[in-house]
């Protein structure tokens, strides 16, 4: 694979760095898998529970702390932005819901209309089964349809916030560059300039090459800062931070799709020839069974897929583990109040440590996504030797 050539070219420092990263990534995967397993079992139990005697258990269920549900509810998308619950009162920001139904067309209303299981024009939030947490359309005859949901959810709002932040930061510093060229950078400019230069020199120039890097640099800078800012916003626990945007598979999927599309469209003749007729491989791996070409073509799809999963898994795992530490306080607190306070000291210490680690991960994941995208562009545009 051409990737080998690149890794050999890289300095030993960088290789160690990447190895460490893969190590961390594998751990996060394991954590995620465990969490998911845990979650699925708990929700199943809960479903059975609620199905049997829903009304009787309702009051008690609210009191009971279920870490699996709590964590997953924090990590996934939501139709409203839940801020806190005091006693039985939920404080959340209602968000607009935009639906397209094949039966009744477009609908726009606020999510507060659906709170506490209320239904609005036949639409309601499903509370069990496959569509749990999704909006369904219930006909008068009891038929259930799933409308196309284009709602401004928690993650979409968070996306808009981060995008506004991104645009505000970079358009304002761009103005500074335009107005006062050739002077030393100041303020925000001096904070971001090293990062911009780092992406330009150590990522784009190093992976793509002196001749072609300028074409891909805007995209690389955009994904780097987009991922970095969203990772950081995800670490802030209060509104407008705290949404798990870069830990959402839809978001990472779009980012990976961009990388995939750019790689595929900028692939030169050399790239495609290498794919069909991989050099340096014995002929019997290509004929009569085209094993290497199959592997290479799979690689074209696997590479962006891995990009998507890596970012998603790392950020989600960070959120899950962090929430797990916080959950410990409440789990022990339910057993005994004093025990809860005691555990909180350890939990908070771990959470602080994890936060610091996550700050590092926020940068590393943004860097890795950008670096790997750059490497794929480099491979696609590499000239034959």
């Amino acid at each position: 694979m051409p990737f080998k050539i690149y890794s050999v070219k890289m300095t030993s420092k960088k290789t160690i760095f990447i190895l460490a990263l893969l190590f961390v990534t594998s751990f996060s995967f394991r954590a995620l898998a465990n969490a998911e397993e845990h979650n699925s079992t708990t929700t199943e139990v809960e479903e059975e529970h609620t199905a049997n005697n829903e009304d009787a258990e309702h009051a008690e269920q609210e009191e009971e702390f279920n870490p699996g549900t709590m964590i997953i509810e924090h990590v996934i998308d939501a139709h409203d932005w839940h801020i806190m619950t005091i006693g039985h009162k939920h404080i959340s920001i209602p968000l607009p819901i935009i639906l397209y139904s094949e039966h009744s067309g477009f609908h726009v209303f606020m999510s507060s209309a659906l709170a506490h299981g209320h239904s609005h024009n036949g639409f309601k939030l499903h509370d069990k089964g496959e569509y749990k947490g999704k909006i369904i359309e219930e006909k008068e005859n009891g038929e259930i349809y799933k409308p196309y949901d284009f709602s401004i959810t928690k993650n979409v709002l968070s996306l808009f916030v981060s995008i506004s932040l991104l645009l505000w930061i970079f358009l304002s510093i761009s103005k500074k560059y335009k107005n006062n060229p050739n002077i030393a950078p100041k303020g925000m400019q001096s904070l971001l300039e090293p990062l911009i230069i780092f992406i330009r020199d150590d990522v784009a120039k190093a992976s793509i090459g002196e001749k072609k890097y300028m074409k891909y640099l805007p995209f690389l800078l955009t994904i780097f800062f987009f991922i970095f800012i969203n990772n950081l916003l995800g670490l802030i626990p209060i509104f407008p931070g705290g949404a798990n945007l870069t830990g959402n598979i839809a978001v990472t999927m779009v980012l990976a799709l961009f990388t995939f599309a750019i790689t595929t469209f900028s692939g030169n003749k050399n790239y495609w020839v290498h794919m069909v007729n991989t050099p340096g491989v014995p002929w019997w791996l290509k004929f009569p069974i085209p094993l290497m070409p199959i592997v290479e073509i799979m690689g074209v799809f696997i590479k962006p897929f891995v990009l998507m999963v890596r970012l998603f898994a790392n950020i989600t795992a960070g959120h899950i583990v962090g929430l797990g530490f916080i959950s410990l306080i409440f789990i022990f607190g339910e057993i005994n109040m004093g025990l809860g306070y005691g555990v909180s000291i350890v939990s908070i210490a771990f959470k602080v440590f994890l936060m610091v680690l996550e700050l590092l991960v926020a940068f590393i994941q943004a860097y890795v996504f950008t670096l790997l995208s750059a490497l794929y562009f480099g491979m696609a545009t590499e000239e034959s030797h």
Binding site: I76, F150, F170, S174, I196, F258
Partner: protein
């Protein structure tokens, strides 16, 4: 499963807004920022190379200056030596000339003296002849009258004659 199933709405909004952000940032942020960074780097590189060049030129100039100074020193030494020699030459020449002149003057003076002496001697001879004739004449005149007196007379005359 919710966790790993991409939501349609978020996919749509993400695709739309990320494309817009990419476009806006590319056009209005990265382009001017990267251009400005490149310009600044270029200007720094230019300034550094210009400074290097200036330094080199300075060194060259210094070396040239030193060369010029050395040449000037050499020239001065040569001129001084020449002047000294010339001076010496002139002095000796003038000495020679003066000597010659002096010699000439002396020689001509000698010649004149000789000449004058000859003339004087000739005049003396003439004068002596005249005197002798006069004396002889007077002696003869006295002799003719009285011998004793004549002798006396001759003696007085001779006393009168001042032989210079």
């Amino acid at each position: 499963m919710e966790l790993v199933t991409p939501g349609l709405g978020l996919l749509f909004w993400m695709l739309l807004s990320f494309s817009i952000v990419l476009f806006i940032l590319k056009k209005f942020a990265w382009k001017p920022i990267l251009k400005s960074l490149k310009d600044r780097e270029d200007s720094i590189t230019d300034a550094l190379s210009a400074a290097d060049k200036a330094r080199e030129e300075m060194a060259n100039l210094n070396a040239e200056n030193e060369k010029i100074i050395a040449a000037a020193n050499e020239e001065r030494k040569k001129i001084l030596a020449e002047a000294y020699e010339q001076n010496h030459h002139i002095v000796s020449q003038s000495k020679d000339e003066a000597q010659k002149e002096a010699d000439k003057i002396i020689a001509s003076a000698r010649e004149t003296i000789q000449h004058e002496k000859n003339i004087a001697l000739r005049e003396i001879k003439h004068l002596m002849a005249d005197l002798s004739i006069d004396i002889a004449k007077k002696v003869l005149e006295k002799e003719l009258s009285d011998d004793a007196k004549q002798r006396e007379y001759v003696e007085t005359i001779l006393n009168d004659v001042n032989l210079n």
